[in-house]
């Protein structure tokens, strides 16, 4: 009896669906407004179903996409640097501009490991000697200076980050062109200080701080951060706070900058010191 009821219900349900579908098909084919409405509903459903799937697929491909973007970013940085240098060279009417643009080589890399809570913080990158990374290369990101490569393995590179009291970067402050060493303040992940400024230095909070280009690690004019408050230290030097553009707590992708003339410059330096 119960089985008969179930089959009767199923037949009724099937006929109900059949009739409703027939009505919908008729309505869909005969009425423009309903036709548009059905199509819109259908598109919405399709977008929901397949759009969700596409988002999921993109999510799985994210790593690959990130690497592509990273490589493109490095290429663009290299080109940008070349343009900047070319412009600078023209301004100075220096005919070696073409040569200068090829001084630096850029290698994109991903941060494998990075310490942030220690006094001496380090960074490990997923590119090593096989990728052309050499020790004493600079590490930058799209937001500024990150650190310096200290040691290189076949597939990995170990470096010191700016969040390290032992590391300092030559910085140029705002429009004053004042150059002084910049180092980590030892407290925050996005704060640094510029030390050894002359006491009469007139600090303008909000000025951009850039790399000076006087070191062999970093090209000139890479933005590092903006100036904050300043104070006199021991009555003899002035110290300026810098809010870094790069927050180390969110760092993931970097670019290794290799100075191709490094060996030549260091050899020249050594020779000069030897003469003295």
């Amino acid at each position: 009896m119960s089985g008969q009821k179930t089959s009767s219900f199923l037949v009724s349900a099937a006929i109900f669906l059949l009739l409703e579908v027939a009505a919908l098909v008729l309505l869909h084919s005969r009425s423009t407004a309903q036709n548009i409405w059905f199509n819109r509903a259908s598109h919405r459903t399709m977008a929901f179903l397949w759009g969700g799937g596409e988002a999921l697929r993109t999510q799985f491909k994210m790593e690959e996409l990130n690497e592509e973007l990273q490589a493109e970013n490095a290429r663009l940085q290299e080109r940008l640097r070349a343009y900047e240098l070319r412009e600078q060279a023209q301004e100075e009417q220096d005919h070696v501009a073409a040569g200068a643009s090829s001084i630096y080589r850029y290698i994109p890399a991903t941060v494998v490991k990075m310490s942030r809570n220690q006094v001496h913080n380090y960074i490990i990158l997923n590119k090593g000697s096989e990728d052309g990374v050499q020790p004493q290369s600079g590490i930058i990101s799209d937001r500024g200076v990150v650190g310096i490569v200290e040691a290189v393995d076949k597939h990995y590179a170990y470096g010191l980050t700016l969040m390290n009291p032992e590391m300092s970067v030559g910085a140029r402050l705002g429009s004053s062109e004042q150059v002084a060493p910049l180092s980590w303040d030892g407290v925050g992940t996005a704060r640094a200080v510029v030390r050894d400024l002359p006491p009469h230095y007139n600090n303008v909070p909000g000025d951009t701080v850039r790399t000076s280009g006087f070191s062999i690690f970093f090209p000139p004019d890479i933005p590092i951060g903006v100036t904050g408050d300043s104070r006199l230290v021991d009555g003899s030097t002035r110290q300026v706070d810098v809010l870094l553009f790069q927050d180390f707590s969110t760092l993931r992708y970097v670019t290794v900058v290799q100075n191709l003339a490094r060996t030549e410059i260091t050899a020249l330096e050594a020779e000069g010191e030897g003469d003295r």
Binding site: F16, L19, E20, L24, L27, R30, S31, Q34, R40
Partner: protein, 171 residues
Amino acid sequence: MKASTLKFILLFAAQLILWNYCNFSQYLIIVFLPAMLLCLPIDRGVIRVMILAFLLGLAADFFETGQLGLTSLALVPVAAIRRWVIQLVFGNELLARGEDLSFRRQGLAKFVTSILILTSVFLLIYLWVDSAGMYPLGFLALKYGISLLVSTVVSLAIAFLLLEESVAKWN
């Protein structure tokens, strides 16, 4: 042709004429087709009533609305739940005995309830699909409320007309 069948056809024609000529307001649509389905003999199976509803809907759309399938779409669910509504409102006994509906025996309140349920289902589907997403919800809600109220009152009169024979019988 049986008198009840003729009455049914005439009332159906009346529904078409009402839709065609009596456009009182854009906020009102008077429908008594659900009530007509309710008043069909109780022993009619669900499938038969659904097919009849589909054909009635098609005829109504063919002669009147021009949107072939719209009335069928709204009327078939009414036919599908008809038996369940009768069971819910009038009780199992009626179905078990196979008695026809009667105003005298079942009372006005039960008719109001059952017609209200069936008409509300019809109007819900009909207005929603008919609007095709072009009208604001407030407008549709107002139209739904007014139409349900007026249609229920008219449907009661129609049901009374259709079940007149039964009333005489119970007398």
